[in-house]
């Protein structure tokens, strides 16, 4: 997908931030995104007892931002081989995920809703269009268990 951004529309709810996560293109609604950050891996403060998807916390502009990776959700291992990470920080409209930072591989740009395929909005799973995988980001992509320390989890029978 091209990185060309479409002109800013008057209706902000109709714009989407495009990001690449491996071969999947994620579409973040702009109302769910506060800002986009580039952080250094050394700034991450890992949190023990949390799943590997929770990479840790960073301090940004006086606020603590938990950083989450969607690799587990994708089924692959989280990679911290890069020195810098691109993080999409979610806004208050994200509900329980407000202030959380989602790690992505690449930022492609922004597009309006009219430029997107309607099939994208029909499902919350990954779809393939024109041999390209894409997925609409929603808050329910992250499980609630993600935020529970692991030793508190009830043993699975």
């Amino acid at each position: 997908m091209s990185v060309i951004s479409s002109p800013i529309n008057k209706n902000p709810q109709e714009r989407f931030i495009l990001a690449k996560l491996e071969e999947v293109t994620l579409f973040f609604p702009s109302n769910l995104v506060t800002e986009i950050l580039i952080i250094e891996t050394s700034q991450l403060l890992p949190l023990p007892f949390y799943p590997q998807s929770v990479l840790g916390c960073i301090q940004h502009q006086g606020q603590i931002i938990p950083v989450v990776s969607l690799y587990e959700i994708r089924g692959s291992n989280p990679r911290l081989s890069k020195e810098k990470l691109k993080v999409v920080r979610l806004s208050e409209n994200s509900g329980n995920l407000r202030g959380v930072g989602i790690v992505v591989d690449q930022l492609l740009g922004s597009q309006g809703k009219e430029q997107l395929s309607p099939e994208l909005f029909k499902t919350d799973s990954v779809i393939t269009l024109n041999e390209q995988k894409m997925c609409l980001f929603q808050a329910n992509l992250l499980s609630e268990k993600l935020w529970q320390p692991q030793h508190w989890l009830a043993p699975q029978s």
Partner: protein
């Protein structure tokens, strides 16, 4: 002479003592009388000095010290007598018994006067003081006489009063002071005089102490010189006596020898006559030998001429023996010479055979020479071909050297190109880094743009001023980040420009190097063509050399055949030569024999000493003997 010898012996015997002592002794010996006179004079002077000093001391002691002692005695007596007179007067005055005391008084007045007179005589220098004393004395005497008169007139109290009056005491004081002064002066003078004479005596003692060792040494030296002189004289006298006895003995010996000589002279005259007769006989024999008569014999007797005759007889015998030996040796030499002549004839025949063989060899050698000539021509051709080959090879070597040089240049150029390519690669790496940095900057810019769009979207939906203020701050932050990114981008572009310039430089230098290499390659191509031509020439020359080699080989075969024939002929010659050598050895043996014979003969002849032939010539003429 004996005395001189004895003195010399004494001098030699005393040589063992110290040298200065010897010198002194010899000097004293030479000047004994002056030395003794000097010692006597010095002794006399010293003794005179001592005597004068002693006489001086004695005179001083006698004249002054005695006088002083006398003066002291008189002063004591004067004091005593004065007190006697005073006490007599006072006793007479106090007791009233003037007879006894006046008598005593009158008895002691004359001794007092006498004593005073004697003091005046002994010390006229004290006369003035004594005059004062005498005056006071006279006053005292008159007062005492007056006191006696008063005592006689039965007025002892007045007399006593007079004697105890201040006037009396004053005069008494004057008298006693004067006397005391005189006596003090006398004592002082005595002390001074004693000191003076003590010093004089000390000086005389020192003088004596100094003069005593001097006298001792001088007289000791004199005695020692005299004693040595006496010893030398005694020794000389002894030596004289000994030499005299020796002369007497010699004289008697000479007389005896004279008598013996006379007797010997007589005997000699007789013997002389006999000898003359013997010598005449010997002359007759010698003349006979001179004539060639070796059978004569001289008469032998006990005398010297008899010994000469005997020796001459032996000489004649030796001469006969030598001549006989010479004769026999000459016969042997003639026989050996005939044998040597036969051997020489054989050697000549053998040599003739050798010469014919050598002629044959010479013919064959000529053939060989012809073959060698042909072979040498072929060799020359081969040499010429090889020289040409050598020139070609040299040219090839030069071409190869040039090629090598070019290859080295090519190699160095390639290295430079490689280095520059590496530099270029580095620059490309730097460019990659730049691209990565720029892509990163682009991503950041994109992110900033997205953030700006998000903020703008939020701002468009906001109506509150506070929220708008927050949004504005977010825009401000984003703008700062954009400006930083722009600065980073411009600096990156500057770096890119610089690196692009460097890359241009490297590329241009690489281009130049490549052009140089291209020229070099062209030169290499030409060099290779030249090398090809040279190798073609080498091939043709090698073929020529091979042809010449074949011809040389053929010629060598011919030479080998001729050589073999020559070897055979040489072997024949060697056989002949061996035979000749045997004959020569035989001849040598014969020569050795003749040499021994001649040596024997010469050793026999050595008995005679010939005129005009030195020992060295004889030694040279004499061969080493093998006997």
């Amino acid at each position: 002479m004996a005395i001189t010898e004895s003195r010399a012996e004494v001098a030699v015997s005393e040589n063992n003592t110290s040298k200065p002592l010897n010198l002194l002794k010899s000097w004293i010996d030479k000047h004994l009388i002056p030395v003794m006179g000097g010692a006597a004079t010095v002794s006399l002077i010293l003794f005179s000095g001592s005597i004068w000093n002693t006489w001086n001391a004695y005179q001083g002691f006698k004249n002054v010290v005695i006088k002083q002692f006398e003066l002291q005695h008189l002063s004591d007596e004067i004091i005593y007598l004065d007190e006697v007179l005073t006490m007599s007067a006072r006793m007479a005055a106090s007791t009233g018994n003037y007879y006894k005391w006046e008598e005593r008084y009158n008895q002691n007045i004359p001794p007092l006067d006498q004593a005073i007179k004697e003091v005046i005589e002994l010390a006229p220098s004290y006369q003035e003081d004594l005059a004062k004393t005498d005056q006071a004395n006279q006053i005292l005497i008159s007062m005492e006489a007056q006191a006696f008169d008063l005592v006689r007139e039965k007025k002892p109290q007045q007399a006593l009063k007079l004697l105890l009056s201040p006037e009396y005491d004053a005069n008494k004081e004057i008298y006693s002071q004067a006397i005391n002064k005189i006596f003090n002066d006398i004592q002082t003078q005595v002390k001074e005089t004693r000191q003076v004479y003590g010093n004089n005596l000390r000086l005389s003692l020192i003088f004596s102490g100094i003069s005593f060792p001097i006298l001792l040494i001088s007289w000791g030296g004199v005695i020692w010189a005299v004693r040595s002189y006496i010893q030398q004289r005694d020794m000389a006298q002894r030596k004289l006596l000994e030499s005299q006895t020796t002369l007497l003995d010699l004289n008697t010996e000479l007389q005896e020898k004279g008598q013996l000589l006379f007797a010997a002279e007589q005997a000699t005259r007789i013997e002389n006559e006999v000898l003359q007769n013997d010598i005449a006989h010997l002359l007759d024999v010698v003349s006979a030998v001179e004539q060639g008569e070796l059978t004569v014999q001289a008469e032998v007797n006990e005398r010297l001429t008899g010994i000469v005759a005997d020796t001459f007889n032996r000489l004649i015998e030796e001469l006969a023996k030598v001549l006989i030996q010479v004769l026999s040796t000459a016969v042997q030499v003639a026989e050996k010479a005939q044998i040597s002549e036969g051997i020489a004839q054989q050697v000549a025949d053998r040599s003739l055979a050798q010469s014919t063989s050598v002629n044959q060899i010479l013919e064959r050698s000529e053939n060989v020479q012809v073959s060698v000539g042909a072979s040498s021509e072929q060799v020359e051709q081969a040499l010429y071909a090889l020289s040409t080959l050598k020139d070609i090879v040299n040219q090839g070597t030069e071409a190869i050297a040039q090629l090598r040089q070019g290859i080295e240049i090519l190699g160095s150029g390639s290295e430079r190109i490689i280095q520059q390519m590496k530099t270029l690669g580095e620059f490309v790496g730097l460019a990659d880094e730049f691209v990565a940095e720029q892509s990163e900057i682009a991503q950041q810019t994109q992110i900033l743009a997205l953030n700006a769009s998000l903020v703008a979207a939020r701002a468009s939906g906001q109506q509150s001023s506070t929220t708008l203020l927050g949004v504005a701050r977010e825009f401000e932050g984003i703008a700062e980040q954009v400006s930083q990114l722009a600065g980073a981008t411009s600096s990156g572009l500057a770096v890119l420009e610089q690196r692009t310039r460097q890359i241009h430089q490297v590329v241009s230098s690489v281009d130049a190097e490549v052009q140089n290499l291209g020229n070099l390659v062209g030169e290499f191509r030409e060099g290779v063509q030249q090398s090809n031509q040279l190798f073609e020439k080498v091939e043709t020359v090698t073929l020529q050399a091979m042809g010449a080699g074949g011809a040389v080989t053929q010629a060598n075969h011919q030479i080998v055949e001729a050589t073999q024939k020559t070897v055979k002929a040489m072997e024949d010659i060697a056989g002949l030569a061996q035979a000749t050598a045997d004959l020569a050895q035989n001849s040598l043996v014969q020569s050795e024999v003749m040499k021994n014979l001649s040596a024997r003969l010469l050793s026999t002849i050595e008995f005679f000493q010939l005129p005009g032939v030195s020992e060295r010539e004889k030694a040279h003429s004499l061969p080493p003997s093998n006997l």
